[in-house]
Point group: C2
Chain length 290, copies 2
Amino acid sequence: MQLLDGTSCSQQIRQEIAKEVDEIKSNGDRPPHLAAILVGNDGASQNYVAMKARDCDEVGFASTVISMKAAISEKELLDKIADLNADNDIDGFIVQLPLPAHIDEHKVILAIDPKKDVDGFCPENVGNMSLGLPTYLSATPNGIMELFRRYKIETEGKHCVVLGRSNIVGTPMAILLSRNTAPGNATVTIAHSRTEGLKELCRSADILIVAIGKTEFVTADMVKEGAVVIDVGQTRVQDSSKKSGFRNVGDVDFESVKNKCSYITYVTGGVGPMTRASLLQNTLKAYQRR
Amino acid sequence: MQLLDGTSCSQQIRQEIAKEVDEIKSNGDRPPHLAAILVGNDGASQNYVAMKARDCDEVGFASTVISMKAAISEKELLDKIADLNADNDIDGFIVQLPLPAHIDEHKVILAIDPKKDVDGFCPENVGNMSLGLPTYLSATPNGIMELFRRYKIETEGKHCVVLGRSNIVGTPMAILLSRNTAPGNATVTIAHSRTEGLKELCRSADILIVAIGKTEFVTADMVKEGAVVIDVGQTRVQDSSKKSGFRNVGDVDFESVKNKCSYITYVTGGVGPMTRASLLQNTLKAYQRR
């Protein structure tokens, strides 16, 4: 079994980006600038946004974090988005999800200028992705494609099972892997909570991508010998033995599954850093497009 | 085996639409208006466009067919599209594909105002479809969903194999069937020319949708007993015994497959009329949105 090391792989990507930023700055131009809107004080969201800002620092991007109270109105958030759409100093921005229940997530995503939508969540960008046109690729699926690319994992003709059909992971992942590209050209099955015979289906997968949001859902009996297993899940579980009071648990029972795999990601240092690296790639692209 | 009768099913849809158009007209309003641009003189394309115009007549829509020579420049076509985008009397329009090789199909599709893109081919509409937001659904996949709906064919939890991954049939079909809707909630596999073990995969399908563009590709040994088989293929094959000099052949070997199916479509009177009915539904929607 080989661990797919998202930490070192994303570091490599950040170094590549930092080099490009150096060139930009040496030409006397301003660096790319990413903004993030954070609503409320969810611990995990705060942590993600802080890490994204730190990533920007590391590669030489400018970054701005806009913190808004959980009680803000939908209109206040939409107004802030309109400001960022119009702000020529900002190349791209994200609104950290999830949002408080009183705010319509779809409305918020639709308000973002597609040219600045570096999360790749807007309809226009999702459609471009599906059609194989230039776009901002949704960060998590793109991060996983980068892992396949950099570890030279063959996907062509392989049976890939994607567990989960969310708009930001499962569905775009399935589309990307089914396209006539490299990596890609896989035979892809989209499975979900309504799938019958799920265990058997998972056992037929050469590549199993798990984004179902259920801790340690995939166990060894669901994995084919020699399969590639990608764990997108990340749930905070209380753990009094940790200083933070919690630990992150994936959707894959790593300890039992790892011995059957050819390649596997771990809940930390796996898909997470690759997702953040994709966001940097998209921000650089947004800068270059302007 | 029951034949899925796209002719009668689409007639039912046209009657529903005609009723709505009657109401519109009885309120003193103008009827919905569909335009179609036809470039060149490909026989099949001329035939499709003529049928679409006839459908409009039947339901009481206005229709305009704009015929352009095969030799027109890309710019001339783009100018015509700009005219239609700006024309307040036209609710929606299509550009009949395929286009002559010297014209960039993507550029043409991107030029269509998404609000008038009743084929549902623009990135914004494709993205809305993927995200489950209101949109113009791509006509063929939507027509097939209507067949499932009207024949009460259960898709939830079923294994659906889609053969072919085109932007206008295979990929949107897979997305629609995998969503949490009814029909929908299927476990969907996207298969294509690079798929390994295709026969076995097809045999595992409860629902098999074939859009691979190879005549009589699916034979009885590739079909599970009791499966639902949808044939999207339609290729003109020379046949001197016919007055027209050709006959239409599907991607499914109907004669051998039909006896194994619970439901099946035939190459004529199957998916084709349902596709055209979807176009009428989208045009009505375009009218209502304005």
